[in-house]
Amino acid sequence: MPAPDLRGAALTELAAGTAAGKWSARDLVETYLERIAQLDKKLGCFLLVDGEGARKTADAIDKRLAAGENVGPLAGVPVGLKDIFVTRGLETTAGSKILKGFIPPYESTASARLAAAGAIRLGKLNMDEFAMGSSNENSAYYPVHNPWNLDRVPGGSSGGSAAAVAASLCAGALGTDTGGSIRQPASFCGIVGIKPTYGRVSRYGVIAFASSLDHPGPFGRTVEDAAALLEVIAGHDPMDSTSIPRPVGRYRAACTAGITGMRIGVPKEYFQAGMDSEVENAVNLALAELGRAGASIVPVSLPHTQYAIATYYLICTAEASSNLARYDGIRFGHRTASAASLEELYAKTRGEGFGAEPKRRIMLGTYVLRAGYYEAYYGKALRARRLIADDFTAAFAQCDVLVTPTSPIPAFKLGERAQDPLQMYLADIYTVAPPLAGVPALSQCCGFTAAGLPIGLQSIGPPLGEEAVFRVAGAYQGRTDWHTRLPRDPS
């Protein structure tokens, strides 16, 4: 049975088609594997393709479907996993050399739920090392190229995931977002990505960067695709003590619920003078479209936005320096070839295994947590965090969803910003605040620059307000066709 043209195929279509017997899971897998084999050397999306595993899983699913079993809502759908999700028996590196060869003996909750829903794992996707980065240039293996323009970055840290979905190398993907690492690559690659409410998706089996800020979440071509994936992976997990015990919402349904009467807040701090004009225009047009769809636009303020980046980098580096202390060459991962003493074992293993960005953040985090510095830096940042969260609470008293640009700039060139880490950090301005507050935020395509690069529109909701976010995003998508545009296959 022939598979459909996978370029631009929506995950929900593929799931429906497989369930209806229009094609087999094996067909889908073979077609995607073929595309990966042809195109990924130009893109660099995958760190590991598990063709054998995917075929086996597909065959098993086809058998069960033939027997009339209900295999799950995502039966037969091939997906990719950011290489930050531990996969039992399959190498997981977090984009780092220090975990080269690491074969986890257990599975992450999110990937297990995808598999239980019938999705088929094609492989592990490239990422910035330990999720630290905004361009995927910090991968210890190789960079990822933006399918819309191979000279450009796909965004990061979930660059491989976003690019793979954009280039139709998989039907959907999982990533993680700590300061923007789902939304910004979704924005750069013209697809949908959502960072759910903190705790909505289990972090069990997600290699930790910044524990209080890490949010696993889905990428999809359409809002319905992202919603479908989120419905499967979200929900309480007893293995994660920060996992929210409330029931999962009906996200797919929300995509078509409309937004008549909804109030859309526009925070003035996200529209400062000096924004890239193409980004500004696209977002303003999008706001107008939302107005025509029945929402009212409300100006609001998030006054502590100016402290968000500093607050974010204080908290995430402190937590990262702690989370990365376990990489010591003793139980797993890279170990230096020769160490005369324990101290050498640690220092050389870690010096050799970590790339420049993790080292930078470990150093910064260690610095700010030192006795005597805690209150001035980390302690202060925790208080600033509350002020930032309170800003959102106050804003949501006046509106239902906030809409902003996702990134002040479209995808930049490979190598352009890699030399100045601070400059890279400052581009996170629109994405760092929602993770600090734990509020859900989604990015979708709202246009293209003259150079043909995607522009992202961000919708932010109150805690557990994913449905409101999907309503807005769905309404916007319903009135536009950006989501149907596809990058050319790299030749």
Binding site: Y106, Q306, G351, M363, L382, R386, L387, R417, L422, Q423
Partner: protein, 123 residues
Amino acid sequence: MPGCKSQEFQSSVAQEWYNRVQMTRITADEVREIAVLARLRLDPAEIERLTHELDGILGYIDTVKGLDAAQVLPMTHAVPFDCPVRPDEVGASLSIAEALQNAPRRHASSFEVPRILPGPGGA
């Protein structure tokens, strides 16, 4: 900010950053000390580069010092609930083979490390 036109991102924060950029926040010696605390072996080029980079980043991060937040409670978690607890029952665990499967160096069912000097390490 280096590389950006002055019109870009002209928030008060960026201005303040410019003003502070002259002050040194971290020295190479401090960087060496922290590298020891963090068990990172850095070569001299890395130390120099990191000193420069961290100085710049700390300069930017210093802006948070200007925020008056004394009356505000720290926000350690983005969830509003208390710590869940579980019953004291044996659950899933790893076999010895699984526990050791990634061990770079092992001896029977133990992990092997260079000789540890006598005495407890830390706590």
